[in-house]
């Protein structure tokens, strides 16, 4: 009997020790244990699980302002910005999250947190593109399947209360009692002195991993990777305007769900188009998507106006000195002022955007509010700017050895 007793004691001791370590280190950023500098302050693994942690964390924070979007807003808009002036803010931006997921998470947060007064959402052109296949019912079913992977976390997504709480409990337990979590805890401990990305308790991604990449590899691979990735994504028959009886693709209806929910709860909704580095915009143009991009801006503006005319739509994607920032390829280990790479902007640029979005100051001179009138003007201006920056783009392409 001694053997069997020792067997189970060893089992229980190891399970509880690992559970305690994982709870304390909290590698996935659930912030359920005290934060200690040098032990668990930096959470490099949290970024890979933010779709899990952000479904639960938002309820704990009970924010007054909710930031919604993908990794761009997660890295760009800091909930601790002074511009928020004492408001509780949660950044629910999630890397790679498609529009449906962003909206589902946001609606769930709104339904569960009556504290929310203002939702700020960054929208992206690529999220609205569809191909012909995506319009048929099969794709709708696929979307449902994708949704099923996270709907158990969101109590408002048809999941029964018991299923929601059971699955949620199971998921939270896995963040403590799992080998994954232990591996993540060890990595968390070993990287406390490293420069690496970490998700804060308010959902902000420090994006510090970019610094490490630039110190070791330089900025060139970062630009190469992102621009090639965008090119690859745009390699099919993607369109914006797809339905004969409606100018809007089915993607817009998800934006409509958020508008409607915000309206029902008297929540102020502010939408903005993320800034893109000029190399991103030129890649769109090279792939034949420039007309679609401009059409998309117009459709988003029209759609929002048709749903609720009081909702502001800001555009930060227009060419200007920020967007045209030079890539320091001659000093590859020095940082850019506003961008990490073509798609992701820095906190510093996020500050300027927040100033525009929240303070609406005229002297900011970054971004403009889109209206029917301003759009007509912007379309021509952007076309000219695209043309004017083409030699700059050609030079950059040569330096990056990108395909012509």
């Amino acid at each position: 009997m001694n053997y069997i007793r020792s067997y189970f004691i060893s089992f229980i001791v190891l399970i509880s020790s690992i559970g305690t370590v994982n709870w304390f280190i909290d590698p996935f950023g659930m912030y359920w244990s005290p934060v200690m500098t040098g032990v668990n302050e930096i959470k490099p693994e949290a970024g890979t699980r933010s779709r899990i942690s952000k479904a639960y964390q938002v309820d704990k924070v009970a924010p007054q302002i909710l930031i919604v979007g993908n990794s761009r807003v997660e890295m760009g808009l800091d909930p601790n910005s002074k511009i928020f002036a004492g408001k509780r803010v949660y950044n629910q931006g999630m890397p790679g999250a498609h529009l449906i997921m962003q909206v589902d998470y946001a609606i769930d947060a709104i339904e569960n947190n009556h504290s929310i007064e203002h939702v700020i959402m960054g929208v992206d052109f690529l999220d609205f593109l569809v191909n012909s296949q995506q319009l048929n019912s099969e794709h709708q079913q696929q979307n449902e399947t994708i949704r099923a992977r996270y709907q158990f976390r969101l109590s408002t997504l048809d999941a029964s209360a018991s299923e929601y709480s059971y699955q949620g409990l199971k998921e939270k337990l896995a963040m403590i009692f799992s080998l994954d979590a232990l591996t993540a805890s060890i990595q968390t401990l070993s990287k406390q002195n490293a420069t690496t990305s970490s998700i804060s308790a308010l959902g902000f991604n420090s994006a510090d991993s970019y610094k490490t990449i630039m110190q070791t590899e330089g900025i060139k691979p970062l630009f190469n990777q992102k621009l090639n990735e965008i090119s690859a994504r745009l390699n099919s028959d993607l369109v914006i305007k797809t339905q004969k009886d409606s100018p809007y693709s089915p993607k817009f209806s998800h934006l409509g769900r958020l508008i409607s929910t915000a309206s029902q709860h008297n929540i102020k909704l502010t939408l903005f188009i993320n800034p893109y580095h000029y190399s991103y915009l030129h890649t769109l143009a090279d792939k034949g998507q420039w007309q679609n991009f401009m059409l998309w801006k117009q459709l988003v503006q029209q759609y929002i106006a048709s749903q609720n005319s009081s909702i502001a739509l800001w555009d930060f994607s227009g060419f200007n000195e920020v967007i045209n920032e030079a890539v320091p390829l001659d000093k590859p280990k020095s940082y850019m002022q506003w961008f990490w790479e073509p798609a992701h902007y820095k906190r510093e640029l996020g500050e300027r955007m927040l100033a525009t979005l929240l303070l609406d100051k005229n002297d900011i001179k970054f971004g403009q509010r889109l209206t029917e009138t301003s759009l007509a003007e912007a379309t021509n201006q952007e076309a000219r700017a695209l043309n004017n920056t083409s030699s700059q783009w050609q030079k950059l392409k040569n330096q990056l050895s990108l395909a012509q």
């Binding site: 069997i4 020792s6 067997y7 004691i9 060893s10 190891l14 896995a174 799992s178 232990l182 691979p221």
Partner: protein
């Protein structure tokens, strides 16, 4: 129900054990067998209750045919019995494949709909074919359907083997001591189960994430470079071994909790230094089945060299087809048939020309390396879904798709990195995945070459029905003299070690995955 699931470990297994021993104590051995059969049928039905009917029908048919064959060794009845079994497996497993090929050849558009492969059909069908042949030969007899049902459906071995023989199993259940709770068996069972669970969930599932994306990319038509192809193929090589051998260990451990000793299914196959040795050590119960009921039935090596080589080729081709209804499995079988024939020819040449090669360490190492490479190439066809996918991986392994090294590593290599680039090495992304892939591969290679297996650890305790003990003939086992000193004993250290294996295995339950052999 999966062995690596919370419901199995924390509910089904303890309840089954409790029922079995309580029934035996209170109502006798037959009641205990009844409870075990009921638990086994529940275990099978958990997956898909409708296929329980198929299992029951198959058991009823084979029981009656076997009983008649035992009384009257009628060859026609044996042929009928085997034909019915093969027809069932042909319909469920191969009908789609056959129709696909007929359509491809004739341009027809036949459609059989979606035939779902019943769980474990290959295992319980082969087991029962062996029973029919053994009954016909007078090796075994069964008079009780309940006992027969236990032989077929005994849940530790039902889903993925080891393939057991009636003559090995039923006599064990006729011994009264099996029905009494035995601490020694519990200790051994718990320990072997924990080791198996660790192998399956921590090692096999741990490395699977580095194999799957590479094969998916190749099957999707993407190019796979040198290091990715090797990294992914090696990862699959270890995933498959630890998955299946871990499963077999779990089965052996669970059966031992009930006092039953199962046959050995794996005996360190990746230590083999020739391909015959590999097959003596890989999926041993299937190899024995194919040898005894197919190769020997075809004539074996009794009718001259040409017939012997032909029989070997047929056996391996059918062995390949047994694993799955697809051309890649047939190619895999053909490859191994060729390897075995080459090995036979080499042995014959050595004997004829009196070539005496010194079996020193270097010779053994290269013999092992050649064997291991041959096995790895075989696994490419085994794992890839399409022929093109397999060929893409092989091209990558030959360096025909270029060589890429993550930029993060090239940058850190400094001048050496620049030199590599001038030689044509291209930078890529994913430095962390690259490093983890190779760390896993190197660690698991060290494991399979140096550590003793469950059979060696428990040889003194009759861990399985095999008598193997630290056999190192025809193997590359660099740590043999040290490894053979490691054997299980009833000490606190072993208890703590195996309890820790169980804990680490349990900690992966939130990532429950299927066993690779479920669909065979």
């Amino acid at each position: 129900m999966l062995f690596n699931s919370a419901e199995f470990i924390f509910l089904f297994l303890p309840i089954s054990l409790l029922l079995f021993f309580t029934a035996a104590k209170r109502w006798g051995n037959e009641a205990a067998i009844t409870s075990l059969v009921a638990c086994s049928l529940f275990f099978y039905g958990w997956w898909n209750p409708s296929y329980l009917l198929l299992l029951l029908a198959s058991m009823a048919f084979n029981y009656h045919v076997g009983k008649r064959l035992g009384n009257n060794n009628n060859k026609n009845l044996l042929i009928l019995g085997i034909t019915v079994n093969l027809a069932a497996i042909a319909y469920f497993k191969y009908a789609g494949f056959i129709v696909f090929n007929i359509n491809a050849l004739t341009g027809a558009e036949w459609d059989l709909g979606n035939i779902i492969l019943p769980l474990a059909i290959s295992f319980f069908t082969f087991q029962q074919i062996a029973y029919l042949v053994d009954s016909y030969r007078g090796i075994t007899k069964e008079y009780s359907f309940l006992h027969y049902a236990l032989f077929v459906a005994f849940f530790p071995q039902l889903i993925a083997g080891p393939i057991v023989h009636h003559k090995d199993m039923l006599p064990q259940f006729s011994q009264t001591k099996r029905y009494q709770l035995n601490h020694h068996n519990i200790k051994i069972g718990l320990t072997i189960f924990a080791i198996g669970l660790f192998k399956k969930t921590v090692l096999a599932d741990g490395i699977a994430v580095y194999a799957n994306p590479i094969f998916s990319a190749a099957d999707a038509g993407q190019s796979v470079d040198f290091f990715s192809a090797w990294g992914g193929t090696l990862a699959y090589t270890f995933q498959l071994y630890f998955d299946f051998s871990g499963y077999s260990d779990m089965a052996i451990g669970i059966a031992r909790l009930f006092g039953i000793i199962l046959p050995l299914n794996f005996y360190s196959p990746y230590k083999a230094a020739n391909i015959s040795e590999f097959w003596r050590r890989w999926h041993i119960t299937l190899s024995h089945f194919l040898r005894d009921y197919l190769y020997i039935a075809l004539g074996g090596n009794r009718s001259g060299k040409v017939k012997r080589y032909t029989n070997l080729a047929i056996t391996m081709l059918l062995g390949g087809l047994w694993h799955g209804a697809g051309w890649n499995f047939i190619i895999w079988g053909a490859l191994h048939g060729s390897y075995l024939m080459l090995n036979l020819a080499w042995q014959a040449i050595k004997a004829q020309y009196h070539i005496a090669l010194n079996p020193g360490k270097i010779y053994v190492f290269f013999a092992w390396l050649l064997t291991f490479l041959a096995v790895i190439v075989g696994w490419v066809f085994f794992r890839a879904v399409s022929l093109d996918g397999a060929l893409t991986i092989l091209q990558g392994m030959l360096g025909l798709n270029g060589i890429s090294v993550p930029n993060a590593i090239l940058s850190r290599l400094g001048e050496a990195g620049n030199l590599l680039q001038t030689w044509g090495v291209t930078p890529s992304h994913g430095g962390a995945v690259f490093v983890k892939t190779w760390l896993w591969n190197i660690t698991l290679l060290a494991f399979v070459l140096t550590l003793p297996n469950v059979q060696d650890l428990f040889a003194k305790e009759q861990g399985t029905l095999s008598n193997y003990s630290q056999v190192n003939d025809n193997t590359f086992w660099p740590t043999w003299s040290k490894s053979k000193t490691i054997t299980w004993s009833s000490t606190t250290r072993w208890a703590a070690f195996s309890g820790a294996c169980l804990a680490l295995g349990i900690l992966t339950l939130s990532q429950v995955s299927e066993f690779l052999y479920f669909q065979f």
